[in-house]
Symmetry: C2
Subunit: 399 residues, 2 copies
């Protein structure tokens, strides 16, 4: 039997992270590879009560089909939550989706013709790159420093490319780099997007997980023309297993997302939507997030300290003020994919950074997650990883 | 701000059904429009117990990210369930998805280049047509009688079109027509697919809802070359609000679906997957399905009897042996979309049949659902609908 797949399938590769995650199921492995929240902080007891309450109060509705747009009380909860990010939203600007990954896929589906240009930070989120690739764009990576995209470079690119469909950014505690955009860069990005009439896709899974410093408003806050599409998720502040996120956008753009969702999966889980709405009504979500912040901050501190203590000086890394990740740069002659194999033999895992660059290169980088391992394991894992790095440095010197 | 959407968005229209469903929220309206299961039969008490048990036993796993392929015990449950349809499957042939609608979208994404040809029954399922349209195919509707596609016509089409990507069929209690393929036609379809080397997408949401007569094996049962992709769902035999279905396919084809799911939404709800696996373990799903069959059979009987009693002789309709729908054909000069507007004024709703023909026409048809209204309402609704039909016939005569 001969199989003729669509051309787009040539671009669709397995996510290195999800393949790695399979290998790291072994309890002996200390994994800095995933972006998993700490399972010990999930509100399991509260969810037990909520589950029973929802079935008692709304059983017939909860188990039935519901509207594509989402469960109305949840849309209201989300709209009001957007105020924390400096965005005045109404429920009519909100579509509930199955995790923000779905919003990335839909952004690609709605905007990208084959050959269109997408701009992203360099590096950028692997899952977004993979989602967009299905729609066959070209990626231009915008040079990025510790403050966000370098605006002069961004303007040069916008000036010289007339088929840019959108700019994709993660302004807060970026995956993979952990970096956060300054307010000045945020304003500058909006100004350029206005000048060149470009849509922005703002991906914001980690914004509420700030450990220190002042909260900055979302890009959508500075947007006066409705050109920012904001993707949010309950995965990092609540529970990823429920698969719920949202799109906030101007209503004509949101309508395209709603139509796309109809064809893609009709709607997100009715019962999970009602559960989340009830949780936000009945329990103290901000207190819950505060707990996450406290634990993750401690783990970041422990990981950074361990890296300072254990890593050789030729390895540099970011010191994020929030989120789940730090990003390390190895000497140029060290290939992090090879290092990952060696590290796995020492029972420690991370994600090689090369996959976060849509146009390749930068094979001497790695992403390290600190949210889902306890402090003891973080220290032990960094020791093992340092040993693997030192082994490789030694081999390279010899060669 | 000028918005340049992708070209595919020109093809994406709102589902008439989901738009109609919004109008039919009014409790005064008797709706034959949706394809909703009877909410009063949902196993609410059982789900309460299951919800607590799952959180107690597997809380940290249930609320966490999980593998893209799906929760392994659920994949095993599904594989073993496929035996009822005459298909020997292993868990490695199963991907859990968010309702079978997602399998339709993925089928389009994986196979269709713009301009490729998709064959379908005439009429065919509106949700599938909309999902495929996003990938810009041409549709060829294969003439269909009470026994399935007319194989001579199918062969003519296959002979004369060399870019057919797949044949999409709903062989059991088809949506919208209620018709079921005979065994002879099933075998004949597989033979032609083998001869012309074509993939088949078999959509089977209603197969287990047979009211009378003998069960026929799924198309996948007759397939010796792994060319049938089978889409199943828990929405019609269990609860649609959980949004869970599955793809069964040969492992190399399934791998494309897994990669596509990674980019589309990472995975389906972990907690809902564990709940369904536990339900199938702890409770009698076959007993539950038997209850559905009994109730839906009674409702079908009542609806058919009411149509026989109330509809004028110039309206013909199908008498399905299972599933959720009957299909009615009005005189050619009666437009069912106009009728739907008049019917809604009499507080009764249905879906005009024209939307089920991807290439248009057949505006004198309608789809009627009998699963989600009680018997009294079915009788009253058919009376109102008959009155609307008679009004229109009278107007047409006058004109």
């Amino acid at each position: 039997m001969s199989l003729k797949y669509a051309e787009r399938m040539d671009n669709i590769k397995a996510s290195e992270i999800r393949e790695l995650l399979k290998l790291t199921q072994d309890p002996k492995v200390i994994s800095f590879a995933g972006g998993l929240p700490a399972a010990e902080l999930f509100p399991i007891e509260e969810m037990k009560k909520i589950s029973v309450d929802v079935l008692e109060k709304y059983g017939k509705v909860a188990l039935q089909y519901g509207p594509t747009e989402g469960y109305e009380p949840l849309r209201k909860v989300i709209a009001s939550r957007m105020k924390k990010l400096g965005v005045e939203a109404s429920k009519d600007n909100i579509l509930v989706i199955s995790g923000s990954q779905q919003g990335l896929d839909f952004s690609g589906k709605i905007f990208i013709n084959p050959g269109d240009v997408i701009l992203c930070e360099s590096p950028s989120y692997l899952g977004a790159i993979n989602a967009f690739k299905a729609y066959e764009p070209k990626f231009i990576e915008v040079p990025t420093d510790g403050d966000g995209m370098i605006l002069e470079d961004l303007e040069d690119i916008l000036k010289n490319n007339d088929n840019v469909k959108f700019i994709y950014v993660i302004p807060d505690f970026q995956n993979p780099s952990g970096r956060t955009w300054t307010e000045e860069r945020r304003k500058g990005l909006i100004k350029l997007a206005n000048k060149y009439d470009i849509v922005i896709v703002e991906d914001n899974p980690y914004g509420e997980l700030r450990f220190e410093g002042e909260y900055l408003p979302a890009l959508a806050h500075y947007d006066t023309e409705g050109r920012v599409i904001f993707l949010g998720t309950f995965s990092k502040i609540f529970c990823p297993g429920l698969r719920l996120g949202w799109v906030y956008a101007r209503s004509d753009i949101l309508n395209k997302f709603i139509l796309t969702k109809q064809g893609a999966d009709l709607q997100s889980s009715t019962i999970s939507q009602i559960q989340v709405a009830e949780f936000f009504e009945e329990y103290d979500i901000d207190g819950h997030i505060e707990k996450l912040r406290t634990v993750y901050k401690k783990r970041r501190d422990v990981m950074i300290k361990a890296m300072e203590d254990e890593f050789p000086d030729c390895v540099s890394f970011t010191r994020p003020n929030g989120g789940l990740f730090t990003w390390a740069v190895l000497p140029e002659n060290i290939n992090a994919r090879e290092l990952a194999v060696k590290a796995l033999k020492k029972n420690v895992a991370f994600v090689p950074g090369g996959s976060f660059f849509p146009n390749g290169g930068n094979e001497n980088t790695m992403r390290l997650n600190y949210s889902c391992m306890n402090e003891e394991k973080i220290i032990e894992g960094i020791k093992r990883l340092a040993a693997a790095i030192n082994d490789m440095l030694l081999e390279t010197e010899k060669a």
